[in-house]
């Protein structure tokens, strides 16, 4: 992890879309009077979604004012949690798991592939489609190595398969998330071995 700063270029302002605003106000109602600040994470997250995956500085201020928090408090939160992006990301934001199980199963090759296909971490491709970063364990160790692209997990990857996925996404085709090697969820790769007739064991 490294020092996180707000992006140098920031948009003029930020306002929630009417739907998001209604949603955020509903969230605020969940908390007793005076405790509205509790809604900070979900509302920031919604702001990030609305801004295409990152939090511009005006959005921080908007959310702070909405919750009656000092600006510095929101700044603390946004910089503390690494899932809040402080700089623009690609439309397809690839998060590569680099923690030990994935690393043992070849996360380094996945990262190398990302470097060739997309560029350095944090860099957005000129067409605005892709950017990637390394993250800590995403909890899919059984299907290592894996990446998360936007909200979906793509598991049991090889560099070639990742290239194929990115190519399909670039072409606008849908790609089936989940294991990419034909495996059913996280079932054993060699087929089912339990609850079978004793002789077949």
């Amino acid at each position: 992890m490294s020092v996180r700063r707000l992006a140098a270029e920031q948009p003029e302002g930020f306002a929630f879309s009417p739907e998001n605003l209604a949603w955020a106000e509903a969230q605020l109602k969940k908390y007793p009077e005076g405790r509205q600040a509790s809604a900070v994470i979900p509302i920031l997250w919604r702001a990030q979604e609305q801004c295409g995956g990152w939090l511009p500085e005006p959005a921080l201020r908007t959310v702070a004012d909405m919750l009656g928090l000092a600006h510095i408090r929101i700044y603390e939160i946004a910089t503390f949690y690494t899932m809040f992006n402080l700089a623009p990301v690609g439309r397809y934001y690839v998060q590569v798991c680099g923690t030990t199980p994935c690393w043992l199963r070849g996360a380094d090759e996945i990262k190398a592939a990302c470097r060739t296909l997309i560029g350095e971490p944090g860099h957005v491709t000129p067409d605005g489609l892709f950017s990637w970063t390394e993250v800590e364990c995403l909890g899919a160790c059984v299907n290592a190595p894996m990446v998360q692209i936007n909200k979906d997990y793509y598991e049991d990857l090889t560099p070639d398969r990742l290239e194929w996925i990115l190519a399909n996404l670039k072409a606008g085709r849908e790609v089936m998330p989940g294991p990419q090697n034909g495996r059913q969820a996280s079932a054993p790769l060699s087929g089912p071995r339990t609850l079978q007739a004793p002789e077949s064991n």
């Binding site: 490294s2 600006h71 510095i72 603390e76 503390f80």
Partner: protein, 702 residues
């Protein structure tokens, strides 16, 4: 009260305190970085580890309450060991980790010599570093013109953040990032907008936040440290004046729980650069419209010549805001000798009158008493600017009560760092409270100790006397005056005022007050005006009068003067000041007055000798003896003589007429309230910064 055994000594401690405090009571000092008695507990430096019998690991003593400990199986009280090998090793380990990223730049660090980390490294440090990798590098932050940052040195104790958030009430500092990358900063690095921001420099246990104006000026061991009293506001905050040679190099707070705890305002702390600029260091006489330097003998002779044979009714004297009791007493003696009843110490025209009784112009509840107040009515004052440290005390009370204390404000709206009900703008609202028909009375109904704070903005106006009486009536209506509690509290803005009123520097029989003196001067009825450090009056109204200015700075009074007699500033004399509570305190001379400037009472004494009728004292001791005879309340240093509360009830019953004008502002510009502050470039910079921020705030927020 729980019993503990600390290092084999059994001790009984109050319930609810923490182990670190209990150890303090037992006389065992625990090393600490993040823990501070007046701030919330963070428990993140881990330096205060101690061993508790029965616990598997050392515990952070700052975060463990004594009531959370269990006695041993055989019934022995909880046993704490602070001096074992294990504790020492644990602390050494913690310190080594703290030093992993801390640069070893003590020789070029401003904190060197007064650094907690340096001191504790002497006790717990390893003799050599075992850390081979690069140290963390952190960008320095901009925190305004007062605070210099060297963020590489930060050990993340978060004391500064907790101070700004909790005590100062300005949520501007925060910690961004996490873990090793955590950094202390303000939002987008704008300067801190607080009157108390300088205190974070004292709180910082390392050299990460240091004083910018004092940067690389001196080492602590070169300085002469003189305990003294501040005069920038009427609180009489306890300060320590650090000087080298003839120059005051910095001002730090001293601890005094009854007044300033251990905080001082930025003005108090940084006004020292004004103490060496624009100084009057020799007498001047106006000849042909120009002020020309002259000798003491000459200057005094000219004054004496003017005064000789003058009808006393044509002489008037005004005492300023920074004057000590001694010189005001001498001035009063001189005026009496000349037969003049025209004397006044209330430059701002506040309608306070010692004849009404001492209780009518004191902060009777006392500053410490704020901690007991359970309802507060603020009338015509912005305590945040007029007494920043006192405001922090109100905020502390508000926090203690978790915001459930009714606070009402009548006067100008302002951000006071705590929530309040805005009741109204002027005397009409106050009259409603006094008459018992205002809803605020219902809110404050159950209050045992209501506090009514009256500011100078409510009193320094033509109907001030009426407002004072009305405020007294309101205090009675709120039941703020009762046996054992007197909540009627006048908040002064001038350090000299209470002593002036105590000594009776108000017009005598047939005498004129400041406004009337100025009228008299402009129409020629007053021929000679003696300004004792009085700079905050309308100089153009002095007309053709012959003006003698005695003071320490070439400010407004000196510009108008016909004769200037250079006096000593508050750091240059042993002098008595009485704070807004009526507490007499002594300043001490830290440096000598510059050039030919002299202590102020001596100037008045010398002048009286020139007039042929020397004042009846030849030394400070004699003067004080006479003064204490006239006003025994001043004799007991650091002691408040409670004033007779009956005066307030009488005042309340007296009634009085009030106008309809809203209460104005007591202090227009916090950083430029007196001649010393106006001479300080730093105060000017701060004033501009705040004015700029205000303009910007109104610009962008409509």
């Amino acid at each position: 009260m729980p019993k503990l055994i600390i290092d084999n000594r059994e001790i009984e401690v109050p319930a609810g305190i923490t182990l670190i405090q209990a150890c303090g009571l037992a006389g065992v000092e625990i090393p600490r970085f993040c823990y501070h008695e007046r701030l919330s507990i963070a428990g993140n430096c881990r330096m205060c580890l101690v061993e508790v019998a029965g616990m598997p690991k050392p515990v952070a003593s700052c975060a463990m309450g004594v009531s959370d400990l269990r006695p041993g199986r055989d019934g022995t009280p909880p046993t704490i060991i602070t001096n074992s090998e294990r504790v020492k090793k644990a602390r050494e380990g913690v310190l080594e980790f703290l030093l992993v990223n801390h640069p070893l730049d003590c020789p070029i660090c401003d904190q060197g010599g007064e650094c907690d980390l340096q001191d504790q490294t002497m006790a717990y440090g390893f003799d050599a570093g075992r850390f081979q990798d690069n140290k963390r590098a952190v960008e320095d932050k901009y925190l305004g013109p007062l605070i210099d940052t060297f963020m590489n040195r930060c050990i993340h104790c978060t004391r500064c953040i907790r101070f700004m958030t909790e005590v100062a009430g300005v949520e501007e500092l925060g910690a961004i990032g996490r873990g090793e990358d955590m950094e202390i900063t303000t939002y987008l690095e704008h300067g801190m907008m607080s009157e108390l921001s300088g205190n974070v420099v004292d709180l910082c246990p390392v050299g990460a936040l240091t004083s910018k104006p004092y940067a690389f000026v001196a080492r602590p061991w070169e300085l002469t440290k003189t305990p003294s009293i501040d005069v920038m506001d009427a609180l009489g905050s306890n300060i320590r004046v650090d000087a080298r040679g003839r120059e005051v190099l910095r001002i730090l707070p001293r601890e005094n729980d009854a007044i300033n705890e251990e905080w001082i305002s930025d003005k108090t702390r940084h006004v020292w650069d004004g103490l060496r600029l624009q100084r009057l260091d020799q007498p001047y006489v106006r000849r042909h419209g120009r002020l020309e330097p002259t000798s003491w003998g000459d200057a005094l002779a000219i004054v004496a010549e003017g005064l000789r044979g003058l009808d006393g009714g044509k002489f008037a004297a005004i005492a300023g805001d920074l004057q000590a009791a001694e010189e005001m007493f001498a001035l009063k003696c001189l005026a009496e000798q000349l037969g003049s009843p025209h004397i006044d110490c209330r430059q701002d025209g506040a309608k306070l009158d010692p004849a009404l009784g001492r209780a009518t112009y004191l902060f009777n509840a006392t500053i410490k008493g704020i901690e007991q107040a359970d309802a507060i009515l603020i009338i015509g004052t912005n305590p945040r600017l007029e007494a920043a440290v006192l405001n922090a005390r109100i905020r502390e009370r508000w926090r203690q009560m978790q915001g459930r204390i009714p606070i009402g404000l009548i006067g100008e709206k302002a951000d006071l760092t705590y929530a309040y009900d805005y009741l109204g703008a002027g005397p009409e609202t106050l009259a409603k409270i006094a008459a018992g028909s205002h809803p605020f009375l219902e809110r404050a109904a159950g209050a045992e100790r209501p506090l009514v704070i009256i500011g100078q903005a409510a009193l320094a106006r033509p109907d001030g006397a009426g407002v004072l009486a009305l405020a007294a009536k309101a205090a009675v209506a709120l039941a703020a005056v009762k046996p054992g509690w007197n909540g009627f509290s006048v908040l002064h803005t001038a350090a000299s005022r209470v002593a002036g009123l105590d000594l009776g520097l108000v017009p005598g029989e047939g005498g004129r007050d400041v406004d009337s003196i100025l009228d008299g001067a402009s129409n020629g009825e007053i021929e000679i005006v003696y300004l004792l450090g009085a700079d905050e009056i309308e100089m153009e109204r002095l007309g053709q009068a012959f003006v003698i200015y005695q003071g320490n700075h070439g400010d407004r009074g000196a510009h108008r003067a016909d004769v200037i007699l250079p006096g000593a500033a508050y750091t240059e004399k042993d002098a008595l000041y009485v704070n807004t509570e009526g507490r007499p305190q002594m300043t001490a001379r830290a440096v000598f007055p510059p050039g030919e400037a002299r202590e102020d009472w001596k100037i008045l004494r010398a002048l009286s000798a020139k007039l042929g009728r020397p004042l009846p004292f030849d030394s400070t001791a004699e003067l004080r003896a006479k003064m204490f005879e006239a006003c025994p309340e001043l004799a007991l240093l650091d002691t408040i003589v409670p004033a007779d509360a009956g005066a307030i009830e009488r005042l309340a019953a007296s009634g009085g007429k009030t106008g309809k004008d809203r209460f104005g502002t007591g202090i227009a510009d916090f950083y430029l309230t007196n001649a010393i502050a106006r001479s300080s470039p730093l105060m000017a910079a701060l004033s501009a910064l705040h004015a700029g921020a205000k303009a910007q705030a109104t610009g962008t927020h409509g």
